[in-house]
């Protein structure tokens, strides 16, 4: 087991270096630098003199070729230094840390709801398979699964923020907090954030809900055809116990690996949804940094996503071994 773990970690480290190297190469070779882009967007009249530009480039380490700069970045990383954001002039870790919570608030709530709802739905559709109610539920879920989240987000916004404006059902269009947030009481603050969360969480949840419950169902369908289920039924085990105890338990392996694979999505956020709802999370930070060519922040985010993805896969493989005694890595 330890041997396997060490091997996996070493392979992971190689992948990590490859990914960061490639991403660094890609972003440094995109047209425009943070200096030229930032200045012209902010104020076209501000022309930087060539000498100033040279000096600033030197300060930011942009005068060196990208592969040299990459190894400098890697060296700093070894000392735990991710660098400073070009735009916000704060350490990258601080910039990312302030954006983690809003994203986590959305994704954790949504993931909780997904697990809470998808297991019963998946089991229901398995048991009632072929009946009218199952067909209706499955089709609805399937349609939701195919409905792109940004389309749904826009339609919900048109409905709740524009058409129902001024009624009791009106929901806010932008941001995480209302304008009068600072004057609100403790309860008012929580209520305000919750109100702003409703639409984003809905959009985050409905798609994965369909995916997860279908996942449960398709695994269950394979399991309930097994001989041991027939045996359990034959010896008189009740239907609830058969489904929950004999069948669902045996679908836990793929279900648990799915948890491992959803780990990165907890923190990565969604570029497009956060952009639509102007939610100050990771996805929006990523998109903004990409537009502003904020290399240190982009690299910090890439590093984080990659580590999370690799860890998620590792976790999935380990949970596999924990849940299923037939699998061993020794």
């Amino acid at each position: 087991m330890v041997h396997y773990l060490i091997r996996r970690l070493m392979i992971g480290a190689v992948t990590l270096i490859l990914v960061t190297f490639l991403v660094y190469a890609l972003i440094r070779n995109m047209p425009g630098t943070p200096l030229t882009l930032d200045m012209t967007v902010a104020d076209p009249s501000v022309e930087i003199s060539p000498e100033n530009l040279k000096r600033m480039e030197r300060n930011y380490g942009l005068d060196k070729p990208w592969y040299v700069a990459y190894f400098k970045w890697l060296g700093n990383l070894g000392r735990g230094d991710l660098g400073h954001s070009f735009v916000e002039h704060k350490p990258v870790t601080t910039v990312i840390a302030t954006r983690v919570w809003p994203t986590l608030l959305l994704s954790a709530t949504s993931l909780f709801l997904v697990y809470l709802l998808s297991v019963p739905m998946g089991l229901f559709t398995t048991v009632r398979s072929g009946h009218l109610d199952e067909r209706a539920l499955s089709l609805t879920l399937y349609m939701l699964y195919s409905l792109p989240s940004f389309v749904a987000a826009l339609m919900l916004l048109v409905l709740f923020a524009v058409k129902l404006e001024g009624t009791a059902f009106e929901l806010p269009m932008y941001d995480m907090k209302g304008q009068d947030y600072d004057q609100l009481s403790m309860f008012g603050k929580v209520g305000d954030v919750l109100k702003h969360m409703i639409l984003p969480v809905t959009c985050f949840t409905y798609g994965s809900l369909a995916y997860f419950s279908r996942f449960v169902k398709s695994n269950m369908e394979e399991v309930i055809r097994q001989d041991y289920i027939r045996t359990a039924r034959a010896k008189g085990v009740g239907p609830v116990r058969v489904i929950w105890h004999h069948a669902f338990r045996n679908t836990m392996i793929p279900f648990v690996t799915l948890i491992g694979l959803t780990l990165p999505t907890l923190l990565s956020g969604s570029v497009i949804l956060e952009q639509i709802f102007t939610w100050p999370g990771m996805g929006k930070l990523f998109f903004e940094s990409l537009g502003r060519r904020d290399y240190p922040v982009l690299m910090g985010l890439t590093l984080m996503f990659t580590i999370l993805t690799l860890l998620g896969q590792l976790l999935a493989d380990f949970l596999y071994a924990v849940v299923d005694p037939r699998i061993s890595y020794s």
Binding site: I11, V14, T15, L18, V19, L22, V23, L26, I27, N29, M30, P31, Y142, M143, Y145, S146, L147, P148, F150, V151, L154, M155, L157, V158, A161, V162, K163, M173, E221, E222, R225, V271, I272, Q275, I276, F286, F287, L290, L298, L301, T302, F305, T306, T309, L310
Partner: protein, 371 residues
């Protein structure tokens, strides 16, 4: 698909299959029984028809016209601007056919598209008899002349969407085709050769999966100076093959151990032939499923990219571009969101349902009657 039915296989394999249907024929029979899958297939067929006939459905250029003694097909310019006969430039038509045709050649005649609206520009007052100029801004609500409303600038949304069908279909097929080719080759090599080739290719798959898609796409798009819709397709194909590769690898790992491969090898069959003729036909059915879902994902990705402002360059009306126009109009113009949104949704749904039906009709474990 039909190439790989038993009749084209070596006679030794086909001899006992003459009485029963082959795998793909059997799968097609089962596919046809699935109503949702068939409906979706018909829907995609309908989209293809719309895409091919788009210049005849909505446009301001005649499908066919007789001008100064010869026949022209100006509507073909909607497929490729070079296909518009230069005579209309020389005679200074300024893209306004109805009035200039009559004025410059009284004997001319022309057949116009069903809807006189242009996907690229606003139709002004007096261009077409009895049709007012397109409304702009918030006045562009769907009406008799603009079925799906108009954009902020007064361009007809129906025309935009009809012409956007082309993009949606091409994106799906071409980018997924590219992804399938890369994915199957990489997966086949990794699964068949194993050893260090597998380790290298698996790392490659992992690296491509780990790089944030948006960075990869935007960086690749930035390489080309003047991005065209073809570049988006190529980039989407070059980034979307990892799932297919992993599945193919798994299938090849599984089939490599099978007796028929050992048998083929004992007969002295070459590696490429074993991979291509013996393992791939057996591995293809499961791989078709992520390909069908990949088409849906590609369409989704293109509309998401257009929506974020990185999609098809402006004159190309893609569904995502219209949707983005709806967002930038501060959500007041609901028709800019509703119609393209429904179109994207239905297309993605159709491809997902097709993928589903393919899965159900090719997976022997899920066959009906084996309960």
């Amino acid at each position: 698909m039909t190439q790989s039915n038993p009749s084209s296989k070596p006679p030794s394999q086909a001899s006992d299959a003459t009485a029963s249907r082959g795998f793909w024929a059997e799968a097609w029979v089962r596919f046809r029984r699935r109503k949702l899958g068939m409906t979706s297939l018909c829907f995609v067929g309908l989209l293809a028809v719309i895409a091919i006939l788009s210049p005849a459905i909505a446009g301001t250029k005649p499908i066919v016209c007789r001008y100064k003694g010869s026949l022209y097909f100006p509507a073909m310019a909607y497929f490729n601007s070079r296909w518009e006969n230069p005579i209309f430039y020389r005679d200074k038509f300024y893209k306004r056919y109805p009035e200039h045709l009559k004025e410059k050649d009284p004997d001319s005649w022309a057949i116009y598209p069903l809807v006189f609206q242009d996907p690229y520009r606003r139709v002004k007052e007096g261009e077409w008899e009895g049709q007012p100029g397109n409304p702009t801004g918030a006045d562009g609500v769907p009406n008799r002349h603009n079925w799906f409303g108009t954009t902020q600038a007064g361009v007809d949304v129906f025309a935009q969407m009809v012409h956007g069908t082309k993009i949606a279909l091409l994106i799906g097929f071409i980018s997924t085709g590219i992804a399938a080719v890369i994915g199957i080759i990489v997966g086949a090599l990794a699964g068949y050769f194993q050893g260090w080739i597998d380790i290298l290719l698996s790392r490659l798959i992992e690296v491509v999966m780990c790089i944030p898609t948006l960075i990869l796409i935007l960086a690749l798009m930035a390489i080309v100076e003047d991005p065209k819709i073809w570049h988006i397709m190529a980039v989407l194909g070059a980034t979307g093959w990892t799932g297919i590769a992993r599945l193919t690898r798994g299938e090849f790992l599984k089939h490599k151990q099978a007796e028929f491969v050992t048998g083929a090898r004992a007969l002295g069959t070459g590696r490429v032939r074993i991979m291509w003729r013996h393992i791939l036909p057996n591995a293809l059915a499961p791989v078709l499923v992520p390909i069908a879902f990949g088409i849906a994902a590609a369409i989704l990705m293109e509309s998401a990219l257009s929506f974020l402002g990185f999609g098809a360059p402006p004159p190309n009306p893609s569904w995502g571009t219209t949707l983005n126009a709806g967002r930038t109009s501060n959500l007041q113009n609901w028709w800019l969101i509703l119609f393209p949104g429904i179109a994207i949704f239905l297309t993605v749904l159709a491809y997902n349902l097709i993928g589903e039906a393919v899965q159900a009709s090719t997976d022997p474990r899920l066959r009906e009657g084996t309960k």
